[in-house]
Assembly symmetry: D2
Homo-oligomer: 345 residues x 4
């Protein structure tokens, strides 16, 4: 029997991407979706790309009604809003996958330093960080999954195996990330107007992006000790995709071959991670619309590791990963509904 | 039992798109694909977007071997090359869907005026023009389907119902089409370099594009008499999509409502054609990667009809339509493997 | 002595483009620029592209102060706002070039039908329509120039010579225009977000765009009798540029050669209009950032004229043309400050 | 009297950009330009963006004829071709600015390791590296200027002042660069087709790009000792622009303020370098078509310096810098012909 799904917050790109994936999922039934802005209108009317949801109508966020209908709730609302609705569903025995940042940071102190006061800190410990390649078993048992950020997904996957096995040093770790513009969301703003982004390229929030503590939390866990990173996000004139170029120092005698071998070993049972052979580096265009994370690696003569990882920020970086988590939470095949090839060109 | 499929010419955008769709088709098995350029290499190695074809290896065009393995052959080679291989398969009782222009024009004279000498003219009459919304029954019985061109698909679908029912006059008919750059193919050329196309916009082959006789053939058939059109294609700095803006004169008392009613009536049983309500016009971004053709229409005060249609040039304009034809030829549901929502944004 | 210039409304793309051009103009001195939003900040701080205006500070629209400093005022504010400030300057003997639509339509009735009530109708008759290639002498004498719209500039220039000389029929005239996104301005809006425009293409305001009466006014004047057009604007995923494809019926025996000859004759003394030879059609990328209007023409076998014209919507379609008008109004060489080649690629 | 200029190799983007700049230069006269491919055709016919060169005709590379006409020769041909023609002009007392890599590397050994055998090694020592902000005086006296590469320009300018003054450590220095596609040139190739680049993002030549030794040479000179860098170039779906994100470790007690102060001090007399205030980082769109290099800097809590620099790869990264060098070599104002604001948007 299909999983009955409610989505809170269906008018952003993350919500739309979630619907796009669920539309073809053989074991999912979307029973309710909310949007204050579009309430009363059919999903297809607002988003003609979603041709199959003509009958589905955006409703106001009536939590009680949704809790009654749905087994699983995806919260695709901004942080701070998420923490206000998530406990409601958990208290009624529903499972929740939260796509905001509200339950990703285990430490209340760290969360409140980077974001704002947390109104449901009791759930911080219970939430499982929804990166299946690292926390597969925990996700299977979880009631609340904190779906990772897009930059963190692209940064943590390449580094966890290497930090765990001590192939690289914990400092310096430099993550230079480049993201498509859909990461900035679907709200009106001058900074993300077509003419401001097209034919432009910039770094932003240098040294201060909120994904930093999330990445540090997971890399520290992999290393076994607290570590710090340098993280610089950039805005790319394209719709989708994140490419992260990662720099670290290897331990003595670690070669490109060692690195690739280790990554392949670690991700053997992870169908969505592909490690390219030596000399081959990935392009975001080859994972567009998919749940894949592709990687390439090189150790330079001087012993510096250069890794490049790519994901689709809306899919593996958000809604695809959320569905992967759903599959695990409901005992389904991890890849169900997620195997469509990339849309290229 | 799945249809066994061979593809001749798998290294262009059309071939890649065909594989992308077939990858998820529940009743299709891709058993052979040819590419002189890439022979011996796995499909996934050359096109990492196609993650599921790691085991499939590009082979030389050994027609005999393919005829033995495949029930259906898609020819995704340039015109003139197609006419050389298509008869081989037909003579061996295989079905063929030809994505080139070689069998689209029924009149040898017209074909040879716009293209070059035809080496297999005996098949021109036997070929069925593969526009399912117009020739569904014929396609079901066909051995050879001539898959329509991208511009013709976007132009014929809006006009056929109106010409058949006499709602518009046969002249003037002006078709102003705008295509994404994938329509120009995947061969190296200065004119389609990124820097030449990006931030540019141009008309090309004004008054002389080879899709003109194809459109005229089908519109004349719908009207019942020979008619001529004015057709201007343009190149848009985007990867996929065709938008055609079509101008015609209505017969007296024909309103927007009449037009929309007629279109909806005609396309009632055609799941891939969507007629927008009055005042709403389509955007190519909402059909990206899908087999849909969306349309909007307006009759101006002066009685001029303005119609706008959109398709994805690689999907409904080529490979998606080819799979739709395959479904019909093999008694499958017309929409099988073709219902994924558009990738937006 | 340089012309002293004030700009009302300096925070939109039109204002920025005006400053870009004036920065290099040898006979212009920008003495004041207003912006409520940015007041007190230097132009270079807000627009780092304008490196030479570090000392120039955005001020509030203090009309009195500006009238005292400036000989010429460019109003680069939205329509309806323009009509509120223009009379102030005219009454004080200043010259005004208005980049809004407020003084382009000679008939108050027509203006009010398409826009809203007009608060300064007495100036409608006095304003000169600022298309130098058509009204050069009138502009030289004008106190108030109504700078043409971008679509009208690209549409009127190709058609005026042909209508005046009776080479084409007055109906049908179909203008299918495609514009870069800067035409939509620099205000926050979902519809012009990068991800909504990029990889998309749409028609908009089909049959109802406000540039229609402006084009009809000027074409009717050229023809000598009232005529109507069909006008469809489209949005292109590029920053700058308009390409208009224009369809009309020729009078008997009019050939491509006739058309090209006539256009060249008409524009002989107009340095910014270039007529391409037969078989050559223009690309917007070749006029980017310039004041040029390039055209190509073809008469089809059936006697239909297809013309293609390109301009940069911000330059010849707005601020460049405004400076061309300024040059004429102040007795300067028409091309002064406007001869930089296009930025290609 | 104007400098008489010949350009060898005028059909690439670098040659076109050179002509664009020279068109408005008050002290330059372009007397000859070569192109085997386009010989006999006017520049404007091939490149309609260059409206002012209708009379200038591409000629074959007749070196003798050019040496007789020109005072200064720009060689805008690929490396290896450049070394074959440069000595010819120098021997005849002409000045040369070479835009290829052939004379940038002082050590023949290093050159031959990264490129190929050098046929004119005697000129390696005589050539001056044409980065005016570093070698202004030497350029004034030079006969042969080796115009820097685009990535090196964007990398060396931010780092030289800091290495010279010992504010940062010589290792690690990581340069993560992102370039627009015009850097790949104007030759037909599948990899730079619109559909391959648009909506894509990739790193390329990881650990092996030929600009590495050029950057290392100049940074080592600034530091006073041999140093090594890690350099990763990326391809951005835009026409123009390079943004380099640079990571280095600061010496104790070096703050963001220190860095910015030092940079401003160093570049005080360099009109094309702009140092942004703390917290502000540059965007390539603000230097489009200009000779500017804009920078921003931040020292993180952990003492890591993050710098971001932007240039237009065709202007400051190639042809603009070449004209800046010409100005110095001929005793002209360094900024002559180079002060046009950026084309934004």
């Amino acid at each position: 029997m299909a999983v009955k799904i409610g989505i809170i917050g269906g008018s952003g790109y993350t919500g739309v991407e979630l619907m796009r994936i669920l539309a073809l999922h053989p074991e999912a039934e979307l029973v309710a979706i909310t949007s204050r802005q579009h309430k009363g209108k059919s999903v297809t009317q607002i988003f003609p790309s979603l041709h199959c949801f003509e009958e589905l109508v955006f409703m106001e966020p009536d939590l009680e009604a949704i809790a009654q209908k749905a087994d699983l709730i995806f919260t695709a609302v901004p942080h701070q809003t998420a923490m206000e609705v998530v406990p409601f569903f958990l208290e009624r025995g529903r499972k929740v996958i939260d796509l905001s940042a509200d339950f990703r940071i285990r430490s209340q102190l760290v969360y409140e330093k980077w974001y704002q006061a947390h109104s449901a800190p009791e759930y911080l410990e219970k939430a499982v960080y929804g990166l299946p390649e690292v926390y597969r078993d925990e996700i299977r048992q979880a009631d609340l999954v904190a779906n990772p950020g897009c930059y963190p997904t692209s940064s943590i996957l390449p580094l966890v195996p290497l930090l765990r096995s001590g192939l690289i040093k914990p400092a310096p770790i430099i993550i230079d990330s480049k993201s498509g513009t859909s990461g900035a969301g679907r709200s009106a703003s001058v900074a993300t107007l077509f003419c401001e982004v097209n034919e432009g390229f910039k770094a932003y929030k240098v040294g201060s992006h909120r994904h930093t503590p999330e990445i540090e939390q997971e890399l520290s866990a992999a290393y076994g000790k607290e570590l710090k990173i340098t993280f610089t996000p950039h805005l790319v004139p394209m719709n989708r995709g994140i490419l992260s170029t990662i720099y670290a120092d290897t331990e003595p005698d670690v070669t490109t071959e060692t690195i690739i071998y280790r990554l392949r070993e670690f991700y053997q049972g992870s169908p969505f991670v592909r490690i390219h052979p030596e000399g081959v580096f990935p392009n975001v265009c080859h994972v567009r619309g998919t749940n894949y994370c592709d990687m390439g690696a090189l150790v330079t003569e001087g012993g510096r590791l250069v890794m490049v990882s790519v994901i689709d920020n809306l899919t593996k970086g958000a809604s695809g990963q959320a569905v992967q988590n759903m599959n695990l939470m409901f005992g389904l095949d991890e890849t169900l509904g997620l195997m469509a090839p990339a849309l290229y060109p």
